[in-house]
Symmetry: C2
Subunit: 416 residues, 2 copies
Amino acid sequence: MARLVMKFGGTSVADIERIRNVARHVKREVDAGHQVAVVVSAMSGTTNQLVAWTRETAKLHDAREYDTIVATGEQVTVGLLAIALQEMGVSARSWLGWQIPILTDGAHGAARIQEIDGAGLIERLEEGQVAVIAGFQGLGPDQRITTLGRGGSDTSAVAIAAAIQADRCDIYTDVDGVYTTDPRIVAKARKLDKISYEEMLEMASQGAKVLQTRSVELAMVHRVRLQVRSSFDAPDAPHILAGEIPGTLVCDEEEIVEQQVVSGIAYSRDEAKVTLLNVADRPGIAARIFGPLANSSINVDMIIQNVSDDGKYTHMTFTVPQAELARAEDVIRKAKDEIGYEDMGTDLNVVKVSVIGIGMRSHCGVAATMFETLAEKGINIQAITTSEIKVSVLIAAEYSELAVRALHTAYGMDAE
Amino acid sequence: MARLVMKFGGTSVADIERIRNVARHVKREVDAGHQVAVVVSAMSGTTNQLVAWTRETAKLHDAREYDTIVATGEQVTVGLLAIALQEMGVSARSWLGWQIPILTDGAHGAARIQEIDGAGLIERLEEGQVAVIAGFQGLGPDQRITTLGRGGSDTSAVAIAAAIQADRCDIYTDVDGVYTTDPRIVAKARKLDKISYEEMLEMASQGAKVLQTRSVELAMVHRVRLQVRSSFDAPDAPHILAGEIPGTLVCDEEEIVEQQVVSGIAYSRDEAKVTLLNVADRPGIAARIFGPLANSSINVDMIIQNVSDDGKYTHMTFTVPQAELARAEDVIRKAKDEIGYEDMGTDLNVVKVSVIGIGMRSHCGVAATMFETLAEKGINIQAITTSEIKVSVLIAAEYSELAVRALHTAYGMDAE
């Protein structure tokens, strides 16, 4: 007997037939003797409709009211899934954020979970009742509904798993696991059986879309074992009924026996490059540029300062998320006198490719292999950042597939 | 300065443009210096979609989950209306049933309001903030969302008005007031400026659809002054800006100076007639028939027992709401041996016409006028019931319009 959290996204509950299919997955685990809490998103499309109504009412709208409105999406699916389970003879009850409660801070629209008291849920689970929990939502300090922002349901699932001390948190998604890289680009990409929290966190934050970064972070902190698996598997597939748990387990690195040097290659098209030309090359110039950006909560990723030709002027290049480019330009323009630059150029036509692996800690030459491989293909590197388990480069967008494929081969990751 | 409750139904908030129009009505009252609580229903159509999904999931579904699902309809409109008000510069905040809270009993799907603590609302109203309140919903004893059943938003509005000691509760609806009878049948029907609670209660329960019976009952008990008015009036109509309050006031009879003998004529097509043939005419037979019906919560309205020809057998006729006919037949059939009747006949082709007026208490001859008028038109009366302020007759459905028109003229109610 295990205690499981099962999480299903919006496409898995898009209509009543799919909700029934989710109920069958849940019933399978209940029949196997497990205690089950299910976390669901809104029916796909519903949230978009609710957001559209809100925008139609006012372009700038109160975040508290926005949260009250969009939280209804999950409220509908938990009710429907509870009914579908009951119809199959499975005892089930829905739980909204405020009913558990899932306490969050007051940052409406992007709230962070602060505390979940799992006692009420555990009591029901031990009575054999399935808890059907609305993802994406919580209760703020002012007793109002909050939402967690994009991908919030993954985060809800992990937080619930931590609160009820679940043995595993199964994230059912539209892919069947975590791959060495995007299989749409590299046909020989391999599915990983296991990946460490640290690597998954880098993969997610460097562009892999399979899990939301915050949820991986939370899983790592609370040591929640995350299983990424397909919601398209038949609920009664023989290998699953036989006890196999398909997909990829995100876990402690100690659990991974044969650790590869490089586990995956991620890429992100969400980068924008900003270049300031002829900036006066004097002490404190970086603070004058990046101070105002930080104050505006703009996330600067890569930074390159060119060597000054004459010791007087230099060029400064950095990247920001594309969604923040307009704000970044605005901030820099307003600080022009303060910074003292000649001109500003921007480039959306870039991609960031990252090589990720815990093995890098103990293996040299990973970055060198990357640079050589790209050089061989004639790909110019515009910027580089590294962390203990990651090397990222910024290149022209047109080379993205070529670069990812070449690196996948170079690190010996191609499937046979 | 007054404290007002304004209630708007589903068609008044059917899309964003109409929600904006509701906001304009609210802003007008705020600009006039009033404290305002608004109660809204779900966007029309929304509740039907939610109910359809629930039915598609399971024909017999858990009422708790049903309530969780359908309550989302009002949750969306309160958020949108609050945003629309804020956009117009009016301070506003949405309130859900559980946030106030509106405490109800645990009868999910048809809950009754037990208690509303108005203190929190009053505090905000006195700060000048409009309270936008979700109608139709409350919080049950098990901390789960309840709904009040059909027409529940009228009831919510009146209960809120009582809780915050509102000076008036304006029910905005798709008619411009309470008429002496249905203007679609009688072109010369007159709009009443005032009507007493007792009369309105009879009008509503005898078929007039303008207000929900429970809401009138509640208004009468708590002496809430109800104004029935049109949601189609322009929010900035000159006569309204000049202080006129259009529509019909439902109030204490003492407030009505010139009380008419008959105030209105109602009709209901929702009747079904059941006749039991050759029932043994012996003491206790009525209890044997109506006991089982009462035990099954079937609402029996009119009852006629024929005079027995031979002292041995009689016929027994009664009416029930059409929606309860199938259940009533079932109950009677199961009790056949106990009751001892030869055959059961049913008739859906009947209508109940009621003449209503507080003046009846002090004027004789109201019923006689009714019977004479119908006799003159050759309309056969199948059953009669009376109360202190009402006479109802059951007639063949084909005569309904003829009967209502003739009675409207006979009591001198036709407009000039």
